[in-house]
Each structure stands twice: as structure tokens, then as C-alpha cells.
């Protein structure tokens, strides 16, 4: 079926899953505010949110199975959108599941916290669909404003407030750059539609227009902030440390996935001609993120900060796929995004289980000898660390993620050999801190008097178990995931024309 986006009713249908989530979230917001704050109410709203997410995810699957498409318009109806939606919804489901038990432990009683995750997720879904810079802006803001609040959710914690303030100020600053970039691109091309921009920049003259160049540069800076790529990463460690851990996991996975996916779509669909001109800046961004993320992570003593720097390094790896800019690169990008989301979410879930009330016990010393007191937890953490590092077999899907990134970079039309070498070298550096966590857990004795992590609730344990199982199983049979990623890459008009020619 082809949606005609000029018709309001068909536009609404094309927005189906997004509208379901938004409408459901608004109803849940009313219900959340209806009753006085209590732990039971918070859990009930959380459960309802999980049901809503499951329904939205089912609708996304249904839409993606029907092979829908649309006329040219403000939103895209393609597999890339559904793939990103599903990754973000998985992240949201994990954040709410972890949040229900974490909030009870930390006495964060407002039930609205789960609904805000839903609002942020609807922003991500708008982002995944956006095919117009106006929608990109609205999606980013819908997502970010909810995340600013979520970062400061723990009102009793000064750290949480501080992280929230830093995120808000730098996020709003980045929004200014993004918006000015959009304005200049609009000024140079006369349109905010991605397809229209790519058509009008097809002639080389516009590509060298100073307004277009500055506009694209500001767009890159704006997206660089949102995806936490070095040198625009300075907010990330502070915000990740200060925010409640389930929200940190949400920011490190779903927020990054949505911002990155939009970046990729804008890059591939609106500026296919700009790719060559901008290879240099993207190249340096990728190198800086990989280098700074991995080297600074070596000196971290707090596991949340360590994972923050690791997520900056992973932004660098993903930027390699963006720099590559072809179908193969986009396939590797989606595959890596899934692998990274699973491993990173699992790692943050373990951080929650080892941590204690007051967001304490997040330091590396608290992991010494974990194997002797909680062997299953230590094993799961080992799997996540190896997966983030890209270790074969025991690291599961993480290894294949890096493998596909490397093959995409080497087989690109303009081979990115140096970038591939930097990726491998910095991955070796990353072993320094990932393996250190494993060494502490398995080879050190548990210090005397160190508290044994309490048994966490069923939801937290199932998040850890599902993430670990998915990492390992997808590491043994990555075929389906790679096929799914290949079917879900964003397609430009030229690519669609080429595919149509190949069929006829």
C-alpha cells in the first residue's frame, strides 16, 4: 500500500504507531497525576507503559511486514523507520522495566517518570520518520525536553540536578546550532524537505555555496552534540553519572540511536553530493571520538563514567559507518546499533544491581571479587564487557558488529583504510578498561566487609538475562539480524531508481 501524504487521513495512518504511543502516553499522564504518589501507583503506571510500548512495537512490526511506502512528503514510510522505532522502543521498555524497581529503591515516587520516557520515545519515533528538517527539529526537541526532565528526576540528589542543568544548557546550546544550520540550508536551497534539498544540490554550484557549507557545518555540530561525539562530548560523562541509572541507560542507547539514525538519514537522503566534500570533517570527528573516548575511559574509577566514555568511543565507531555512506555502511550501522544497545543496556542494568541506595557503590572497587559472591551477575557483566570490546564468541554479537563495520570501511568506494586501522587500534586500547573490569570481578578476592549486592527484583534480573542471552545468541546466529539490517537501510531516490532498473 502507498500512503498519499497529501491527504490528512492517510498522513495520520502513516503516523499510526507514533500517534498510538503519543495518545497512550497522554492518557497515562492523566492517570499518573490522578492519584497521590506511592510506590504501588508508580509500579502500576510503569506496567501500563510497558503494555503500551508492546502494543506500539507490535504495530510497528505489522506496518513493516505490510511493505508500506508513501509518496514524497514530510515523513518517510520505510523499513529504516521501523527498524529505528523498534530499537528505541526496546530501549524505552528496558528503561521503564529497570526504572520501576530502581525508583522504588531510590524513593523516586512520581509516576510521571515512566510517562516522560514514553514522551521521549515518541520524539524518537518522530525523528526516525522525519523526512523534512522541520520534523527533525520538532522530533529532537520533543525527545530532548523530556530527557532534560528525566536527567533531573532524582530531586533529592544534588548530582542529578547538576547533571540535568549541564545537559539542559549544552543541549539548548546545541539546538541553537542545529536550528541555525537548518535556517542556512533552507536559505541556500529554498526548501526544508530532504528530497527537495538533494534534488536542488545535485548541481555542483550549490555545494560550494558558502551558505550551504556553513549550514551543513552547523548541522554537523548540532548532531555531534546530540550523539556525544568528541569534541562535543564534554556534557556526556557528567550527565551520565548524575542521572538515575535507568535513564543513563536510556540516554546511552535509545537517544543516541535516534539522533544517529536521523543524522544518517539527513546525510544519505539530503546530501548525497555533500558526502565527498564532508568526508574530511566526519573522518576527524570519528577519529577524535574513538581516540578520546577510549583513552580517557582508561583513567575512570566510576563505572557510570567509564561507560559514558565507552559510549563516546562507540559514537566514533558508528561515525565510521556514516563516513562510509553507502548501503553497506548503513547495514553495518544498524547491526552495530543493535549490538551496542543490547550490550550497553545490559551493562547499565548490572550497574543498577551492584549499586546500592543513594546511587552508591558504582565505583570499580565495588566490583572486586564479584565472581565469589554473585557469579551469575559477574558472568553477565563479563559478556557485556567483551561484547562492547568486540571479542569473538564470548563477546557474542559485538564481534560481528565490529567485523561488519571494518569490512564496510575497507570495501567502500573510497576505502577508509586509515579509519579502519584507527578503529582496530583504539579497540585494542579499549581492552585496557573492559578487561580491567573482568580482571577485578574474577581474579581479585572480595575485600573484607564489602557488602554483597542485594538480590534485585524480577524485572531488573530479566533485563540482564534477556540482554545477555540476546548478545550470545545473536553472536552465534547473526544471519537473521544482518538480513534485517540489510533490508532496513535508508534509500535515496538514486538508489531506488537503480534498484528499479535492476528489476526490469
Amino acid at each position: 500500500m502507498i500512503f498519499d501524504l497529501a491527504h490528512p487521513s492517510q498522513l495520520m495512518q502513516a503516523f499510526g504507531p507514533d500517534l498510538l504511543l503519543m495518545a497512550g502516553a497522554m492518557v497515562l499522564m492523566l492517570w499518573a497525576a490522578w492519584r497521590p504518589e506511592s510506590n504501588e501507583h508508580q509500579r502500576a503506571v510503569g506496567m501500563a507503559s510497558l503494555v503500551l510500548i508492546a502494543a506500539t512495537m507490535a504495530l510497528c512490526f505489522w506496518y513493516s511486514m505490510r511493505g508500506l511506502s508513501s509518496t514524497q512528503g514530510i515523513i518517510a514510510v520505510d523499513n529504516f523507520r521501523w527498524a529505528v522505532d523498534i530499537i528505541c522502543l526496546l530501549g524505552a521498555a528496558g528503561a521503564i522495566a529497570l526504572g520501576m524497581e530502581y525508583n522504588a529503591r531510590e524513593h523516586i515516587l512520581p509516576a510521571e517518570s515512566h510517562v516522560l520516557v514514553l514522551f521521549a520515545t515518541s520524539g524518537m519515533m518522530v525523528l526516525a520518520a522525519a523526512r523534512d528538517l522541520m520534523i527533525v527539529f520538532l522530533g529532537i526537541e520533543l525527545m530532548s525536553v523530556a530527557i532534560y526532565v528525566l536527567a533531573g528526576l532524582n530531586r533529592r540528589s544534588a548530582k542529578s540536578a547538576e547533571g540535568s542543568l549541564k545537559y539542559f544548557l549544552l543541549g539548548a546550546f546545541a539546538t541553537g546550532f542545529l536550528l541555525y544550520g537548518i535556517a542556512l540550508v533552507y536559505g541556500a536551497t529554498g526548501s526544508t524537505s530532504l528530497v527537495e534539498i538533494s534534488r536542488r544540490t545535485a548541481g555542483q554550484a550549490l555545494l560550494l555555496n558558502p551558505m550551504m557549507l556553513v549550514g551543513t557545518g552547523l548541522l554537523v555540530i548540532g548532531f555531534g552534540f546530540k550523539i556525544a561525539a568528541a569534541p562535543f562530548h564534554m556534557w556526556a560523562p557528567d550527565v551520565y553519572e548524575g542521572a538515575p541509572t535507568p535513564i543513563t541507560a536510556f540516554m546511552a542507547t535509545a537517544v543516541k540511536a535516534a539522533a544517529f539514525a536521523t543524522f544518517l538519514r539527513v546525510w544519505v537522503e539530503a546530501m548525497p553530493g555533500m558526502g565527498a566534500a564532508w568526508l574530511g570533517p566526519i573522518w576527524w570527528l570519528a577519529v577524535a571520538a574513538m581516540f578520546i573516548g577510549n583513552v580517557v575511559a582508561l583513567s575512570q574509577r566510576n563505572l557510570k563514567r567509564l561507560l559514558a566514555y565507552s559510549s563516546i568511543a562507540h559514537s566514533g565507531y558508528l561515525l565510521v559507518a556514516v563516513a562510509e555512506g553507502t548501503t553497506r555502511g548503513a547495514t553495518a550501522f544498524l547491526f552495530y546499533l543493535v549490538a551496542y544497545t543490547l550490550a550497553s543496556f545490559g551493562a547499565f542494568a548490572v550497574v543498577i544491581m551492584v549499586g546500592r541506595e543513594g546511587d552508591a557503590n558504582n565505583d570499580l572497587v565495588d566490583y572486586e571479587g564479584l565472581w565469589h559472591v554473585r557469579p551469575a551477575l559477574a558472568l553477565a557483566m563479563g559478556v557485556f564487557m567483551l561484547s562492547l570490546m568486540g571479542f569473538p564468541v564470548f563477546g557474542g554479537v559485538g564481534f560481528f558488529g565490529k567485523w561488519y563495520l571494518l569490512t564496510a570501511a575497507i570495501n567502500a568506494p573510497r576505502p577508509l583504510i586509515v579509519l579502519a586501522v584507527v578503529l582496530v587500534m583504539t579497540s585494542v586500547v579499549s581492552a585496557g578498561y573492559y578487561l580491567n573490569v573482568i580482571r577485578l570481578m574474577f581474579m581479585k578476592a572480595r575485600p573484607d566487609g564489602a557488602p554483597v549486592p542485594e538480590r534485585a527484583g524480577g524485572l531488573t534480573r530479566s533485563v540482564v538475562f534477556i540482554a545477555a542471552a540476546a548478545v550470545l545468541i545473536l553472536g552465534i546466529v547473526p544471519g537473521r539480524l544482518i538480513n534485517w539490517s540489510r533490508d532496513s537501510v535508508p534509500r535515496t531516490q538514486q538508489m531506488e531508481a537503480a534498484a528499479a532498473n535492476a528489476v526490469h
Partner: protein, 97 residues
């Protein structure tokens, strides 16, 4: 006219950026961010004279979003004031490493 409006918008945007980078008071930084957003609005309005209504529609969206952001932002600044008794970023340095 278009050239002058775009130049003014660029100057205002730059003043906003310099303000964010040099000031230490959270509220003044926030005001500078708003200046940046409004500078962009000026660009959009000026450009819509050439390209039609899209720019003006964008301005309405930007103002709405900026208002929502201001509501959340001021709430966050109040939250930090309750903890620190100050909104000066030099006094806000629990998170380090």
C-alpha cells in the same frame, strides 16, 4: 534588505554564542541561548520573503519549542538553586573526573 537581515541575524547569533561561552550565571547563559534561537527566527522570517511561507511556519514552531524549553529550563535552575543556593556555574562542580 535580505542581506542586511541575514547579517544582523548572524551578528545576534554570534553574540549569543559568545555569551554562552563566557558567562557563568545559568540564567544569563539561558538568556543567551534564547538570543541564539531568536536570531535564527530572524533569518527564517527574512528568508521566507524569498521562498514563501515555510520559514514563517518554522518560526512559530521554534517559538513554541523555545517556550516549552524555557519552562523546563527554569524549573531545572530552581532545582539546582535549592541544592546549591546559587546559580553560578563556578559553584556547581560535584561531577568531575
Amino acid at each position: 534588505m535580505l542581506g542586511e537581515a541575514l547579517a544582523l541575524s548572524a551578528v545576534l547569533f554570534t553574540i549569543g554564542v559568545i555569551g554562552v561561552l563566557t558567562r557563568r550565571n545559568a540564567i544569563i547563559i539561558f538568556m543567551c541561548v534564547e538570543l541564539m534561537l531568536n536570531a535564527v527566527n530572524l533569518s527564517f522570517v527574512a528568508l521566507s520573503k524569498v521562498y514563501g511561507a515555510t520559514g514563517q511556519v518554522f518560526v512559530v514552531f521554534t517559538m513554541t519549542v523555545a517556550a516549552a524549553e524555557a519552562a523546563v529550563g527554569l524549573a531545572i535552575i530552581i532545582a539546582i538553586f535549592r541544592h546549591q543556593r546559587s546559580v553560578n556555574l563556578q559553584n556547581i562542580n560535584l561531577l568531575k573526573g
